[in-house]
Symmetry: D2
Subunit: 388 residues, 4 copies
C-alpha cells in the first residue's frame, strides 16, 4: 500500500497565493527535515496509523492567474514574517519544481464556453497526474473568496447542469467550475474558502456518481476556531450567551477581497452559523471584517461575549487572536490533502463530514463543537487505518 500511496498530487487553485506558497515551502521543509510539524493536525498523536501519504511525498501543481514565480513569492513571505529567513534558499529546488507545474488559470467569458474551460482545467490536472505517475490528485481551492453566487436553475441537478454547459451557457461561479473540473479529472476536492465550490446539488450528484469524495468549506483558522472551542463550554455550563460580537482586522489579499461587501456576506454568514448551531438558537451580535493593509499577512480578531450566569447576573468574556493567516492555513491544507487522498484511496465518496474539525461551514455535518469534531476526526482516521 505504501508504494501505491507514495505519489500523491496536490493541485492548488490559487497556487501562487500566500497559503499555497507556504504549503509548498513547508512541505519541502518537512521533507528536508528543516522544520518541525507544528500546526499539522495529522502529525499529532492519533494519526500515524491512518495510512496517510507523508507530507514529503506530496507533489504540487495548480492554477493561478498571477505570474510571480514561487521562489519570489517565498521571499516576499519572508519579508512579511511568514516564512523563516533562509528557508526559500534551502528549498529553492522544490519551489522551482512546483512552479513549473502551475498553469495559467483559464478564464471564462472570453470566447471559450465554460464546458471547454472545464475540459482545459481537467486536462491540465490529468496531464500533471500522468507526467508524475501519481496515484491520485486532490484539488484544493485556496484562491480568493468570491462573491456570493447568483442562483441558477442549472445548479439543481447534474442533468440540468450538463444541458446548460452543453448549450454554451455560463452558469457556474469560478470556484464551482474548478470543482466540476476536479470531478471531470477524477479527483477528490477540498474547498478551503467560503466560495460555492462543490456546494451545488448538481455537483454533489456528480461527485456521488463518480465515486469521488470532497470536503469543505472555509478553513477555520481564527475567530471561528475560537467560537467552536468556547461555545460548547458555555453550553455545557448552562451559561446563556446573550450576544457575541466580533471584529476581524485583516491585511493581505484576503482582507482586500473581503472588504468587498459581497464577499464579506459569504464569510460572515459562515462565521455566525457555529454559534446558532451550538447554542440551539440564534445569538445576537454582528461580525465585521475590515481590511487593514498595515497588518500585512496578519490578522487580529476581537470578540466580545455577553453571557448570563446564575440568577441572571450578566458577565462578559473578550478575546483577541493575533495570528498569521498563511501559517495557520498552510498546514491544514497539507492535512486535508492527505486525508482526502487517503479517503479517495479507501473508496469514500460524497461529502467527508468527518473533516468538520477543519471548517467553518462543514459540508454534511451538524456538529460545531471543536472537541467533538476532533473526536470524530480521530475516529475517521482510525477507520482509514483499518481500511485494507
Amino acid at each position: 500500500m505504501a508504494e501505491e500511496s507514495s505519489r500523491t498530487g496536490v493541485w492548488l487553485v490559487g497556487a501562487r497565493g500566500s497559503v499555497a506558497t507556504t504549503a509548498v515551502a513547508g512541505a519541502a521543509a518537512l521533507r528536508a527535515g528543516l522544520a518541525r510539524t507544528t500546526g499539522c493536525v495529522t502529525e499529532q498523536p492519533g494519526f500515524p496509523d491512518a495510512g496517510l501519504p507523508r507530507p514529503g511525498d506530496l507533489v504540487f501543481g495548480g492554477h493561478d492567474i498571477a505570474c510571480t514565480p514561487l521562489p519570489k513569492r517565498a521571499e516576499q513571505l519572508v519579508a512579511a514574517g511568514v516564512l523563516p529567513h533562509g528557508l526559500p534558499a534551502l528549498v529553492h529546488d522544490d519551489l522551482v519544481t512546483a512552479d513549473a507545474e502551475i498553469r495559467p488559470a483559464p478564464l471564462t467569458g472570453r470566447g471559450a464556453a465554460q464546458a471547454e474551460v472545464a475540459e482545459t482545467m481537467a486536462a491540465d490536472i490529468a496531464s500533471f497526474r500522468e507526467r508524475h505517475r501519481l496515484a491520485r490528485v486532490v484539488v484544493v481551492n485556496v484562491s480568493s473568496t468570491e462573491p456570493v453566487a447568483v442562483p441558477h436553475p442549472a445548479h439543481a441537478s447534474a442533468r440540468a447542469l450538463q444541458t446548460a454547459l452543453a448549450a454554451g451557457q455560463e452558469v457556474l461561479p469560478a470556484s464551482s467550475l474548478y470543482a466540476y473540473a476536479a470531478l471531470r479529472a477524477g479527483c477528490a476536492h477540498v474547498d478551503f474558502t467560503p466560495s460555492t465550490g462543490m456546494r451545488l446539488p448538481a455537483l454533489a450528484e456528480l461527485a456521488a456518481a463518480e465515486g469521488l469524495p470532497y470536503a469543505g468549506s472555509d478553513g477555520k483558522t481564527g475567530e471561528t476556531l475560537l467560537k467552536a472551542t468556547l461555545a460548547p463550554m458555555f453550553a455545557a455550563r448552562g451559561l446563556e450567551v446573550q450576544a457575541w460580537s466580533g471584529t476581524n482586522l485583516l491585511g493581505g489579499g484576503d482582507g482586500e477581497t473581503l472588504a468587498d461587501p459581497a464577499a464579506m456576506a459569504s464569510k460572515s454568514a459562515s462565521k455566525q452559523r457555529v454559534l446558532a448551531e451550538t447554542m440551539g438558537r440564534p445569538v445576537d451580535g454582528e461580525v465585521h471584517i475590515d481590511y487593514v493593509p498595515a497588518l500585512g499577512d496578519w490578522k487580529t480578531a476581537w470578540d466580545h461575549i455577553v453571557f448570563d450566569g446564575f440568577l441572571g447576573v450578566r458577565m462578559n468574556l473578550q478575546f483577541t487572536w493575533a495570528g498569521c493567516d498563511s501559517a495557520l492555513a498552510a498546514p491544514l491544507v497539507l492535512d486535508l490533502a492527505r486525508l482526502a487522498a487517503r479517503a479517495h484511496q479507501c473508496g469514500r465518496r460524497g461529502p467527508l463530514s468527518e473533516l468538520a474539525f477543519f471548517f467553518k461551514d462543514p459540508v454534511g455535518a451538524q456538529e460545531h463543537g471543536l472537541m467533538q469534531q476532533y473526536a470524530d476526526l480521530r475516529d475517521f482516521a482510525a477507520g482509514l487505518g483499518e481500511a485494507r
Copy 2:
C-alpha cells in the same frame, strides 16, 4: 426512589459566605419558580434521568464563624450586583430557615482537642440530618482558602491519624478536620476550595473504609475554566504553547485571603497544573492573584498565550474574563451536592474522579480537557440513572 431521595441535606462549611448565601437563595428561587436554571450544569440536557435530588428538595445548614444572618447577607449581595433586586424578600422564609441551621464553627486550640472538635462538628451534622429526617447529607466546603498545610506524619494513614487525635494532638488543618467530621457523620464530602480537605492519605483510607464518596477540589469558575477549554484546542491543532501568563484581579473575601502569599501558592499551583497535563510538558508563565477591593464580588482574569504555528511563526491569544464569582460558583455547589448525594445513594465510595469537569485540581483524575471531562460527567450521570 423519589421519596427516599427527596430529602437531601447540604451542610455548608462557610455557610454565611457569598457563595453559600447565593446557593441558598438561588435554590429557593428555583423552588419558587422565580429563577431560571442558568449556570446549573445538571439542569442542562443529559441529566434529567440521573435520579438526582431536585434543587428545590435540598435542605441547607452549615458551620460558620461569622454571625451576619443570611437575610442580611443576601441584601449585601443585592447591593453588590450578585442577587437580583427583590429576591431576598421573596425568599425570606427560606433564608431564615437555613440561617436557623447554621452552627458556630467550633474552634480548635482553645482547650478542646481536635478529636473533640470533630465530634462536635459531626454531631451538629447528624442532628441536622435527624431533625429534618434527611436521607443523607453532603458536606460542602465553601469557606476561605487556607494556607498550604504543614505535612505531618499522622497524615500518612488512618491508624496514624487516629492515634494522634486520640493523643490530643492538633495535626489537621481546619479543612481536613471538617472532612474528617463529614466521614464521622457518614456524609459524602465536596471540597470547592483549594484547601487540603480530604486530600490526605489518612482521610482517603477512612473514606474508603466507611464507604463514602468525595469530590474536589477547587471549583473551576474563571481562568482555569478557560484554560481547560482552550488548551485542548492548541493540542489538537498541533500549535505549541510557549508561554501562558495570567493575572487575576479579585475583590471580595477570596481576593483578600489570596493576597496572603501562602494561600496564593496553593491556588496558583492548581491553576497551572491543567496546562502541564494537557500539553504533556511544563509551560512557561506565571499566575498572579491580586486583591483589588474596588472589584467587590467580581473578578477579572487576563491571560496572554504565546504560541507557535507552522514553521515556527509566533502568534498570541489574549482573553479577559469578567465574572461574578459567587454567581459562577453557587450553581456548581448545587450541582455537586446533587451529584455527590446521588453517588452516595448508589453506593459509590472514594474519589469521584468523574466530577473533574467542576474542578481545577480534580481528585483521582488525569484528564484536564474540559469537553472530555464533560463527556465523562455525562457518562457518570447516565450510570447513576441506571443504578437501581
Copy 3:
C-alpha cells in the same frame, strides 16, 4: 453677582431620556449632599472662581415626546445600574418638580408649519423662565441622534431661512428647529448630540445677531475621549499611526438609534475627525457602531491601533473602554449648562470654541488634543472669573 446667577434654567430637549434623567437626579443629589462631584469637570480644581451657577441652583425643564414620568424613569435607571439604589426616593420631590416642567415636544408636519412650531417651543421656554424668575435658560439637546440632514438652500443665510419659514416650508431638521427656537427665546444652546442643531450658516448668523453663545457638538464620553487623549501621545513621540480601528457596542436607546446606518454615518464621521486633525493626515481604519441590547445602558469600545516605531518596527496598542453612557454624559451636561450660562451672562456670543474639551466635533475649534483642550478650558474659566 451671585444673586443674579443663582437662578439658571436648563431646558433639556429629550428631557425624559436616560442622560436627562441622570442629570436631573444627579443635580438634586449634589444639592442635597447625597453625592460627590465625581465626573463633574467644573467641580475640579481650577473652576471655583469662574462665577458659574452652582449645580444645586439649576432649575430643569424640557421637551420630550415620551410620557414616562421622571420618578419612574429614575427607577428604571436604578435597575439598569446607572443610579444608586434608594436615590430616586431621596430626590423624589426634585424629580416631580422637574417632571412638571416637561412639555410634549411639538411635532412638525401635522398641519402646523415649522415657524409656528418654533414659536410654540420658544414660548414654552420663555414661560418656564418667567414662571421661575430665572436669570437665563440654557437649552441642551440630549435627544436621540437624528439622521444626517438633507441640505437645503434655506440653510445658507438667516434671510433665506426666515423667508422659507415664513412661506410655511419645512426646511429644518428637528435638532435645528430646537436650536432656532432657543435663539427665538433668547437662550444659549448646547448640542450634546451629533445632530445638525446650530451648525447651519443661517443659525450661526442669527446667533451672532442675537448676541447668543452656543456650544457643541457630540459629547465625548468614550472612544473619542480616548482618541483625543492618546493621539497626541503618538504625535509627540513621533510614532506613526498606520491604522486605528474601532468597534463600539452600545445597548440602550442610543445604540438602537445608531444601528440606523444614516445616524451612524453622522456619528462615525465625528469619531474619526479627531485622528486626522491630530495626526495632520487621514488615518486608515473603520469605526463600527453595533446595537447590543444585552448591554443595557452600558457601552464597550474596543480600539486597535497599529503604529510604527524607530526603523519601521510595527507595534500595536489595544484598549477596551467599558462605561455607563448616562453616567459619563450627565455630569458633562451640568458642566456645559453652567459654562454656557456664565458665558451668556458675560456677553459671549457665537460658538464657544473653548469648550472643545467636551465634544467630539467641537464647533469653531481646530484643536483635538485633550490636554490642550483642557488648558484652553481652564483659560476660558479664568476669563469668565475675571469678567465683571
Copy 4:
C-alpha cells in the same frame, strides 16, 4: 556654533546591548538617509531651531562586559525583528567604527579600588573625546537594571564620598560609579535605567560643583508612557481611579534581569509613582513584571483601571501595549544625548527637570502628566535655541 557642536560623542554604558546597538545602527541609518525619523522626538516639529547636534553627527563609544561585536549583535536584532533586513550590511562600517570604541567595563572588587576604577573609566571617556576631537561627550546608561542599592553614609555628601573612595572603600553601586566617572571626565550624564546612577546627594553636589547637567531616570517606553498619558484624562474629567493594576511581560535581557525581585522592586516603584503624583493620592493596584523568554525583544503590558463616574457608577478601562523595547528606547537615547549635549553647551548644570517627558521617574520634576511634560520640553528646546 554649528561647527563647534558638530562633533558630539555618546558614551554608552552597556554599549553592546540591544538598545545601544539599535541606537548606533539607527543613527547610521539616519545619516545615510536609509531611515525616516519615526520615533525620534526631537525630529518632530518644534525642535529644529534648538541648536541640537544632528543625529548623524553623533560619534559612539562605550563600556560593556560583553564581547559580541556590534555587527553580529545587529544581525541578532534583525532575526529578532528589531532591525530591518539588510540594514546591518548597509551600515557595517559605522558598526565597526563604533565597536572599535567599546572598552571592556572595568570591574570593581578584583584588587582595584573603586577610585581607581572610576579613573580608568574617566580616562577611557577622555581618550575617546580627544581621539575624535569631540566638543563634548554625553554618558548614557543603557545597561541592565541593577538591584536597589544599599544605603551608605558616604552617599550623603561629596566630601564623605571622596573620603571613602580615597580610603579604598567600595561604596557606590556600579551605575553610580559610572555617573561619578562621567563627572570626573567632565561629561553630561543621562540615566535611561531605574538604577541609582546620579541620584545620590554626593553626586548631585559634585555635578553642581563641576557645572555639569544630568538627566534621568528610567526611560518611559510602555506602560508608564500610557499611565502618564491616561492619568491626566481621568483627573481632568473628575473620574476617580479606584485601582490601576498592571502586568508586564518582557522577554529579552531586561526581562531576565527584572525577574530578580530586587531589580523589580526598583522598577515597580517608579512605575506607580506617576499615578500617585497625578491623582494626588495613592492608588490601589499592583504592578507585575514577568520574564517570558518567548517574547524575545518584545514586551506586552496589560493594564486594568477601575474608576468611578457620576453618582459612583463603577466602570473600567483596559489596554494592551505590544511593543518592541529596543525600537522604543533607541530613538529616545539619541534624543536625550542631543538635548543633554546642547544643555551642556549652553551652560546648564544640575538636574534637567525639563526632560521629564522621557522618564518614569524624572529627576527634579514633580509633573507627571505627559502633555504638560511635552509642553515643558518644547519650552526647554525653545530656550536652548535662544541661547547664544
